[in-house]
């Protein structure tokens, strides 16, 4: 602690007087870690061996509640952050760079490793297990009994893109999501730009409104992303007949209603019925479905995390909390958000299109 901290006792619960330096005694990380720990352990316990046990549900909510308390403590401290104190690294190799910025990059490095593991798993399974369509075209389906007994399912790889890229309507949610994330990357950069405009060059009310609107737009786009993902996974949608545009009526089924599930060990796609004999090929696609849902789901969780952060930041922007001095907070969140976009740039072509 510096000299002028002698008579200052920063609260561990916030808000904080940042002119006395950064708070060294926040409870937020500890509370959030305990909360996330309870949440994850109880969620896992609620689905032991695929069987749902409702008795753990209250503890799942306890975990969420503790995490929320941690978040509130963190946000109460950050609400008072006016940019007076921004720790700068003094040693090599990051000399003169903000420590928080370096920390975000180190965090992103760990994130890269998480997603690389998921991608290598996908590549390994996709190249190591025969494609269902290939097996079907070769004629190894169940009722003909070439390699399997009747009713037995063949383990093969059925990429989700087989369903998703089957028509432009099926691709639509994923494609819109791609555009939504790119636009949101742009809006967050614009929020940073307006927050960073030097004092006196812009009216403060205009700054407040612009930062609020751009962060709010990012929030809306992130919500659209998750809604469309849920639509694609669980809900599906209806396309009405519009004669003028040449659009025909369609019922676009969700992946769930198509039976594309992580436990689909007897999956049969409508394409795999042999018209001559009526034989249907049964496939165990649980591996391919798992890699799809785990990877895209992990990405979705990151979007959800971003939404939680954006909710707070949009509120802070509404109160006029961002100035050129503390605008770096938007930049740091922006790095995380661009990373989420970056991952989607790879997830979309390889899981949705190919």
């Amino acid at each position: 602690m510096s000299e002028h901290d002698e008579h200052h006792h920063p609260s561990a619960w916030g808000p904080h007087d940042w002119s006395h330096g950064a708070p060294h005694n926040s409870w937020a990380p500890l509370i959030m870690s305990i909360g996330f720990g309870i949440f994850l352990f109880m969620l896992a316990a609620a689905f032991t061996n695929g069987v749902f046990d409702a008795s753990y549900v209250p503890l799942v909510f306890v975990g969420l509640l503790v995490s929320l308390v941690g978040l509130i403590v963190w946000w109460r401290q950050d609400m008072s952050f006016d940019g007076t104190y921004e720790p700068i690294a003094t040693g090599t190799p990051f000399k003169n760079i903000q420590i928080r910025k370096v920390a975000i990059w180190v965090f992103l490095m760990s994130e890269m490793m998480v997603f690389t593991s998921l991608f290598s798993t996908y590549i390994r399974y996709r190249t190591g297990i025969e494609n269902c369509q290939t097996v079907f075209e070769r004629g190894d389906w169940v009722s003909q009994g070439y390699t399997l007994e009747a009713g037995e399912a063949l383990i093969c790889f059925e990429p989700a893109s087989h369903l998703i890229a089957s028509s432009m309507w099926h691709i639509a949610p994923g494609a819109i999501n791609t555009f939504a994330l790119i636009i949101s990357s742009f809006t967050i950069v614009q929020a940073l730009r307006w927050a960073k405009k030097p004092l006196g060059t812009v009216d403060e009310e205009v700054r407040r409104k612009r930062v609020f609107r751009y962060l709010g737009s990012t929030w809306v786009l992130a919500i659209i992303f998750l809604i469309l993902k849920m639509t694609e996974w669980f809900i599906g949608f209806y396309v009405p007949e519009i004669e003028i545009l040449g659009i025909h009526e369609h019922h676009i089924h969700s992946l769930y209603s198509e039976g594309y599930l992580i436990n689909a060990d007897h999956y049969h796609h409508h394409d795999w019925v042999d018209e001559a004999t009526g034989a249907t090929m049964l496939a165990d696609i649980s591996v391919s479905a798992s890699t799809f849902y785990v990877t895209t789901g992990t990405h979705g969780v990151h979007v959800l995390g971003g939404i939680i952060g954006l909710t707070y930041m949009t509120f802070k922007a509404w109160t006029g909390g961002y100035t050129p001095k503390n605008a770096v907070s938007i930049e740091y969140f922006g790095l995380y958000w661009h990373f989420v976009d970056l991952v989607w740039v790879l997830v979309f072509p390889f899981f949705y299109l190919y």
Binding site: I129, V345, F348, L353
Partner: protein, 119 residues
Amino acid sequence: MAHYTIMGRDPYWMNFFGLMILTLIEVAAVGLDLSPEATGWSYTEKKLTLMILVGIGIPKFIMIAAIFMHLWGDEDSKILTLTALFPSFFIIVMILFIGLTHPEATTGLPEWCRPGYYN
């Protein structure tokens, strides 16, 4: 923030438009029938599509990292780019040596680790 321009214009706007155009091409590459082009180049349509998707994915990745994430053109870009590239060793090992080139891929795994073993 960026202290440069791209073709005399704001880099963020240029990057944004570039990304939108590349994504449109990406979606079109999947939506359009590329089988005549693929036959002409002695590829399967799927392989041609994959090549296009990889070819578009790489510049998109670089555009977001370089311009939106400020890994190019800022004072601290160099050291932060090196920081960002640090996990590349892990990425190469995971993708190249585990994902792509493991001789037996999934078939060589112990039984308990193979697909279909749920006990």
